[in-house]
Symmetry: C2
Subunit: 422 residues, 2 copies
């Protein structure tokens, strides 16, 4: 089964919004073995939407549409589906009742326009929304299908999980099995990573490998195909093992696992608590750490010491250090790490100070210069980094570098303690 | 001139990465008046890429491709262009020299594979990279064009700005003028916003309006067309004025202006300094505030008081308040705001405490319950919110609500002081 994804919305073709729905669907259905031919974004124009649907039905077995199911006048997907396959919209009073109930819990009066959502193409199977108010649509004709989902990511995801995947799996029997595995690394460059694993990449059968870079992280994306689930699983396990053996701790995690989740897991595993002192990253590292549910088990808190006064008053950095070495220096980073650890009474203190730009750089201390310090038991040390890129990218790389420094610290400590790294 | 965008990369069609390049290009070229037909993502497969290029050249005046220009073996765009239009790749020694120079500043030895980037389709005009190492391609034949850019966003953006826009503007004379204007609001729901401006939307000529929701923000996206720049400008100014008059301060900003930029501008304008105490948002609000270059002018810093001890020790919240009212309460939020303001000596203290979930909710205090408090001069007050959604969404809505509360506080204070709101 081959399908296309059509994302509806002028905000997409005008470039005002980023299409995150298509990647979600492609990835989720990819895990079930369904392969997406292509993804296309189309503006809120009934003729263009209709044309895109018609073309997809010619070329593929089906099409999954997101967006344009809302109540407002620029929501045209329902009409476009009818135009493309030659059917009519029919009012469904029972659907209107459900929509009314959905809005009922809110105190605002229900605009008449909302009932546009109670119309369905004739013969369509509606998907009742469990969140939001837009019903989805499953339509089957002449061996092909049209599935239409809301554009709001939460609502779309819910329907993919509870309705679309089961419906597709019932309708199609899969002959080929797939496995996807993502190895996430803190390698420095794409080329250096490729260079160190090129022989493995060339020797793999039934496994394609992509190398993808983003700020602070480079991924190896593995896709295995096989005649059976077991065969695909064996191929991907073998490939993974070879990369892991070669690359070692440069690989920090797998699949959706983030660096902050891995660091959190390591802290928890060793019963360590953490506090953070951030200057140039301005709270980004704390934000990342606390993105992880349950992070209150090991994260006590942090100080964003954006001003020099805050470094002195809240972190006990000495004025002398600030004057002699400067706010961006190894000495200040160390004093911040020791200071925040003392203030919160945590096992580990981690501190970041630097120049994120775009202004504030000098010849001696250019934009991108970052010091990261770690304080734990009787040890304190700092590392110096120079990152390139925009303010956002420098901040992101700095936060990731701090998390990675903490990860290596725990892994190394662990080794010497004879613990188990897993 | 009508063009398509093709984004290359199996990571896109597999859903492992989100395509942010296509929206950037569509938006940037939209500002110049060029309209994008559709955007398509294609895997790293030479036949599929070639087919997509061929199809675009049939349907449109040109195609802009991103990705697949790197040095690694899955970078196939150069070959696919040749396949699609029937030309050959030619080695360009001078390009090899430039690539060598680019890498020269790094200490790692240069892998042989890097020189794949020195090949160009015959007749192509190379775009020399000023950042990164991948040269772009501009190719013209039979009145149509193929432009190929790197997939790394920074490198792509640089080339769009310095090469693609000037080249297109030289080649095409624009007959129609466009203007895009985005009005950014903190309205509660899409339907309520549409309801309050529907009559304006219906009465506008030459201006299309889209309503787009994201967590904590709803946008009105205006697109005006005219025979001349002046006409399009007049249409969009008129439309904007009518929405602004109707909606008032619900509109917080325009175009790319973020809530944190607006709040920063207001703070600066009134010579106010700010400090933040965050519990459930874990540093996200500080991160947002410091996303803005120059925020050190008004932002002194913050405390992420994730644990109760931190609330007591760093923010002087009384243990009694924590025990009697709980960490998630109006009283604790108020004490945090007053405490952080005292600690940093800032004019305004802003505090957030709540339950971001997914666990930690009770019948009395459900997931999504958030208290936000503000302390300024002799006034302190707190607001209660209940937000729905995932942990990420609740945190984002909370941070935005805090920024918006501060925005209204300054606007209201200003009014009574007879100041100028602009």
């Amino acid at each position: 089964m081959q399908y296309n994804i059509i994302a509806i919305g002028s905000e997409l073709t005008l470039g005002l919004s980023v299409n995150t729905n298509a990647p979600f669907i492609a990835k989720r259905l990819g895990q079930e073995g369904y392969s997406c031919n292509y993804q296309v974004s189309v503006p809120d124009n009934i003729k263009l939407i209709s044309k895109a649907i018609g073309k997809s039905l010619e070329e593929a077995d089906g099409v999954i549409i997101t967006g344009g199911l809302g109540p407002t006048l620029d929501d045209l997907t329902r009409d476009a589906i009818c135009d493309a396959i030659g059917c009519k919209l029919e009012y469904q009073p029972w659907l209107a009742e459900i929509i009314k109930e959905r809005y009922g819990s809110r105190s605002t009066p229900l605009p008449e326009i909302t009932y546009r959502q109670a119309y369905m193409p004739s013969g369509a199977r509606p998907i009742i929304p469990t969140i939001g108010s837009a019903p989805g649509i499953i339509l089957e004709m002449e061996g092909k299908f049209v599935i239409s989902l809301p554009g709001v990511p939460r609502e779309m995801k819910e329907m993919v999980e509870t309705e679309v995947v089961p419906w597709l799996n019932k309708r199609y029997l899969i002959n080929e099995a797939f496995r996807i595995r993502v190895l996430r690394t803190t390698a420095r460059t794409e080329a250096s990573l490729q260079n160190s694993v090129k022989d493995i990449m060339d020797s793999l059968e039934n496994v394609t490998v992509g190398i993808i870079a983003s700020p602070g992280e480079i991924q190896l994306q593995l896709l295995a195909r096989g005649q059976s689930e077991a065969e695909a699983e064996a191929s991907i396990k073998n490939a993974e093992a070879r990369f892991v053996e070669r690359l070692g701790p440069i690989i920090f995690g797998f699949d959706d696992e983030t660096l902050e989740e891995v660091v959190g897991r390591l802290l928890k595993q060793h019963g360590l608590t953490l506090s953070l002192a951030e200057s140039c990253t301005g709270g980004l590292t704390s934000k990342k750490i606390t993105d992880v549910p349950g992070s209150s088990d090991y994260f006590l808190g942090g100080v964003v010491s954006y001003s020099n006064d805050a470094k002195v008053n809240l972190l006990n950095v000495s004025e002398q250090t600030l004057v002699r070495q400067g706010a961006v220096s190894a000495a200040t980073a160390l004093a911040m790490a020791v200071g925040v650890r003392g203030k919160f009474g945590s096992d580990v203190g981690l501190a970041i100070t630097g120049i994120a730009g775009p202004t504030g750089g000098t010849l001696d201390k250019p934009v991108g210069l970052i010091y990261i310090a770690l304080s734990h038991e009787s040890i304190s040390y700092s590392n110096k980094f120079v990152f390139f890129g925009s303010r956002d990218i420098i901040r992101l790389k700095s936060a990731n570098a701090a998390l990675d420094m903490l990860r290596y610290h725990i892994l190394d400590n662990l080794k010497s303690a004879g613990g188990d790294v897993s």
